[in-house]
Symmetry: C2
Subunit: 223 residues, 2 copies
């Protein structure tokens, strides 16, 4: 499903050069639930953005479902991303003028077979906040809208960037087991960045990143 070969991303603000990704090789099989850990600034979000086609790498190739995404036109890439990839951003990216329900519905309309809106609202425990716009929601509630927005699309590939950063321990655990169950039922492939080491135990594989490289790759025998 996901095949990265020598992917690098190099920024040069001023004189100094930042190697956010430094020759990453990675392949992820269909249906795997993979967790990505690493210190702040090591390149996790940059990697997710490269896989999701949101940012083009400086070097290397990204192949999703057999398609080299750098060969797509902008219009093709947008359609590919809408259909195939669900994204939970680190800072949510909610539409500020739409309610929680409308933010989620908008995502569901992008695909042919979305999940039910009522069900995903219930899954993330936001039924009684459905009509609130983002600035009428707490930090954790906004994060849960972002999670529901990705889930409703029922995408083959789900990329999650610290989906429980604003949640208390109990709510975080509830959300992580929801992601685990829902994606297993419809055999979705998941790459999830987290600092919550408890989830690493629930995953199929755990990757460790440091300074733009994947330095460890552990398979969990019995998640």
């Amino acid at each position: 499903v996901v095949q990265l070969t020598q992917v690098s991303k190099i920024y040069s603000p001023g004189q100094a050069e930042v190697r956010a990704l430094d020759g990453v090789d990675l392949s992820i099989d269909a249906g795997q639930f993979v967790v990505l850990l690493g210190p702040s600034g090591c390149g996790k979000s940059t990697l997710l953005n490269a896989i999701g086609g949101l940012d083009s790498p400086t070097a290397g190739t990204v192949v999703i479902d057999g398609t080299d995404i750098s060969s797509l036109t902008d219009a093709q890439l947008t359609r590919f991303r809408r259909q195939k990839i669900g994204f939970i951003f680190q800072f949510f990216n909610l539409v500020q003028t739409l309610s929680a329900k409308e933010n989620i519905q908008l995502a569901g309309e992008l695909v042919d077979e979305p999940r039910s809106l009522a069900q995903v609202l219930k899954d993330v425990r936001l039924e009684d906040r459905a009509d609130h716009v983002p600035n009428q929601l707490s930090g954790g509630e906004q994060q849960r809208v972002a999670i529901a927005r990705a889930l409703i699309k029922n995408p083959p590939l789900l990329l999650c960037d610290e989906p429980t950063g604003e949640l208390d321990i109990a709510t975080g655990r509830m959300i992580l087991s929801l992601l685990r169950t829902v994606t297993r039922e419809s055999s979705q492939t998941v790459l999830l960045v987290t600092h919550n080491t408890a989830i690493a135990k629930m995953s199929d594989r755990v990757l460790f990143m440091r300074d733009g490289r994947i330095v460890e790759d552990q398979v969990n025998e019995a998640p």
Copy 2:
């Protein structure tokens, strides 16, 4: 230093009423390091905003250092807040067009005796990212800019809203012990919202919130 009496905050978006704060009584002595825990949506950020004078409560009084902040004019409240209160927001609120260094410097210029810019940059480990603007920083790096911006002011009262939500375990622990040490040296009063229960053990007092009320208040004998 902080004295709240029957503070409530009630929103009424549409028909339903949300009691974000529901009659909160709270007093915090000078130099105390107090941690605030509670599930997502229970009113933690609303409480911090009420104490920091960023949002006026529907009922009740907020007294800081003997001053009832609802009696201040807008201009007086702004000056009071700049001088007396440091704030680490849940979503950082960085100035997007300024570099990390400039964001921090701006805060230091608000007070008479700021800490050294070079020192706070070193404290949060961002010396080599000082010239990056927010969109050239990772999530955790932006959070650390927000932390340095509050620290440089050396404020008598420091309000922190989940200051380690975007940080990995190790960086989070480093930041929390920095906050603990720095505020103890200059006997600052701290109210810190967190989901990181390890810090609760390092604090003087732990408050638990639920549905807009403080339901537990535990003193740590030997933090």
